[in-house]
Symmetry: C2
Subunit: 397 residues, 2 copies
């Protein structure tokens, strides 16, 4: 099964250490071949301890061999103890795998402000090491989830210089999903041989086009983190920037990230609809992004999608509220599921037959043409349902 395969040289495992009552909550990624690594992190000014530790580890520039991840507890706002706990997770993992401290990254997701049950984690790390397997992808994907409804995995295979290259990503999403690193956690493994600078650039670009373009509730997490490990086991000619093979690799990486970003939105807390917002005709890309984000973040737009109500007026208000430059009521056009609702400054009054299908499908589209330039941007979001309120009114602190 293609879905459950790790790239060459990678092993993974997922075990239960006791943070959650029943489900897997501790995951381990391991590559025996040394991997180049790159990471993109939350821009939130309040960052979790593992974010600081992993950034420090990456800054040392040593090869990365492992990532240790827990779910159910974010290890955020936990002070000095939290920092020590994150380091302890990396340290115990490195010892059990015969590695150095700076060969191991660490990540956490879950509730903010509670101390990690570090003894339980330390006790379970050897178990996670023992269970490492080439078939461990699904266990890994399960062990990083919180309120997600299912695991999110994407695998791609392609050729670079006639060598087979694999990229596999796993991620978790659900809530507190917003601007600037939308998913909480995403780990990408590849056996591609990639120059470090190229890997960094490719990851940043792919994340910007995918994870940074989704929003569920406008809430930015403290733990967002995308890590990529490239262990070179494909033995392809090294991929450098500004080459054909780089463009190919970037395209494939983008594809993996896009799939996962979409999966996060589809699995959004309480989501019943997948909403694609496309803005074109903007003067600058920033304007296009601002308009798309303003629509995608609007509670009123999201509830109208939920109610299958073709309320384009709320979209018009969101476009204006974006404060983007060059918005003209006379020029802008609004399309819902392909039906033009607003053009030349007024309601187009389409037939009931045409409007009756708007927002009826599971995947819906909102297209805006600002008719003010040539720049475009897209954004993915979901609807806002009572179930979202229910889930988040009763999430245990």
């Amino acid at each position: 099964m293609a879905q459950s395969r790790l790239p060459r040289g990678f092993k993974a495992s997922g075990v239960h250490c006791g943070i959650k009552r029943f489900n897997k909550d501790l995951a381990l990624i391991y590559t025996d071949s040394p991997a180049k690594a790159a990471g993109v992190f939350t821009k939130n000014r309040v960052k979790a301890a593992p974010i600081h530790v992993t950034r420090d580890v990456l800054s040392k520039g040593l090869p990365i061999h492992a990532i240790i991840i827990n779910s159910g507890n974010a290890n955020c706002c936990t002070g000095k103890n939290g920092n020590n706990d994150a380091k302890k997770m990396a340290q115990v993992t490195s010892e059990n795998l015969g590695l150095k401290f700076n060969n191991v990254c660490v990540a956490s997701t879950g509730i903010i402000g509670k101390r990690l049950p570090i003894d339980d984690i330390v006790r379970s790390i050897p178990v996670a090491v023992k269970r490492l397997s080439e078939k461990g992808l699904k266990g890994l994907a399960k062990a990083i989830l919180t309120t997600d409804r299912r695991e999110k995995i994407k695998t791609l295979r392609f050729s670079v210089d006639e060598k087979e290259v694999n990229i596999t990503g796993v991620c978790k999403g659900a809530g507190m999903i917003c601007p600037n690193m939308a998913t909480m956690l995403c780990f990408i493994m590849t056996d591609a041989n990639v120059e470090k600078d190229a890997l960094n650039t490719a990851l940043k670009r792919a994340v910007n086009n995918t994870f940074n373009r989704i929003t569920i509730d406008g809430d930015m997490s403290t733990n967002d983190c995308v890590l990529i490990l490239a262990n070179g086991r494909s033995e392809n000619k090294i991929i450098r920037k500004n080459t054909k093979s780089f463009e190919l690799f970037l395209g494939m990486l983008n594809e993996v990230c896009l799939h996962m970003a979409e999966a996060i939105v589809k699995g959004g807390e309480g989501a019943t609809k997948f909403v694609r917002v496309n803005v074109c005709g903007a003067k600058t890309e920033d304007d296009a992004v601002a308009v798309a984000r303003s629509i995608a973040d609007s509670c009123l737009v999201k509830t109208s999608v939920h109610g299958q109500d073709a309320n384009w007026g709320r979209i018009a208000a969101s476009i204006g509220a974006s404060m983007a430059g060059g918005i003209s009521q006379k020029r802008m056009e609004i399309y819902l599921d392909g039906v033009c609702m607003f053009k030349k400054g007024t309601f187009t009054n389409p037939s009931g037959r045409r409007t009756s299908r708007i927002y009826k499908k599971k995947a819906v589209r909102i297209d805006i043409n600002l008719r003010n330039g040539s720049k475009c941007a897209g954004m993915f979001t979901c609807d806002l349902s009572k179930r979202y309120v229910e889930i988040n009114s009763h999430y245990l602190t």
Copy 2:
């Protein structure tokens, strides 16, 4: 009854013209003495037709004698017809009252994108004129509502130079309530004798401290508008800027606006809790506002308040997500209903007895000390409930 009194020289009425099925939907304010006027309008880049018309009228500088207002239809995104309709409302009103076009302001609130039933409105304006009465305050307050649960009125009486001065405000709120002119419509009448420039300054300051500090769903309206008319009938010595009487007038105006801003939040769609967010210890006022707004706009914070769940972690994440300057996890402090939850970088672990009362009352408080300076700012919001989703999934387009 103090609540139902208009300042001297003012009359008002509210009638049913047929935009709504049953309730009053056309309101008129009239002062026989010429009034100085000032207005503050939505910053949304997509503005409704009446906003443009009223801004033009005010710019002419003639005395204002009347405001004609309809509810149930925002007259927004209605193109040239919409602009003509707004002008027609003002014109017919001026004719029926023996005034000039530029003596009359116009305002609308309700659904975006539908053309006004202008014939019905024109037919009903003479009725509204005929019903004008010194006792018409409640009718006026009723006729400007949309999904609001009740009318919002505030009256204050005080003395300037031993002359009695009255300020009366009416407003409507409910949804699409957010930054930069939060309420959709607010009309303030006073018999104070105020210099025009002083009136303008006082209104801007009062709005900035009150209506601009509330948020219900983060959605900025296209029709927001606060208008004040001062007809000088108190015959007090004219109030000029930088005087004691100006400070007194500003204080009273602020009080009226604050009362109405709070009433809007309390009447927020689906609201069950009134939330006061106070941020102090910021380096700049902008930082304090940014942090307060980030917390008040967070769906996750609002659902946790709704669920009476003392989830301070989501508040910590919102503080960081504000991107305000000088935020330090080690210094910042979080208090929920007076109980310190986070200090010196960690959870304070207060007793169950103390935390059990958090978010239990109808009015709750979130206090933040950034411990980074001396600037403060407050924000009012409400919780996010299933009822909000229900109302807004089924609002008829």
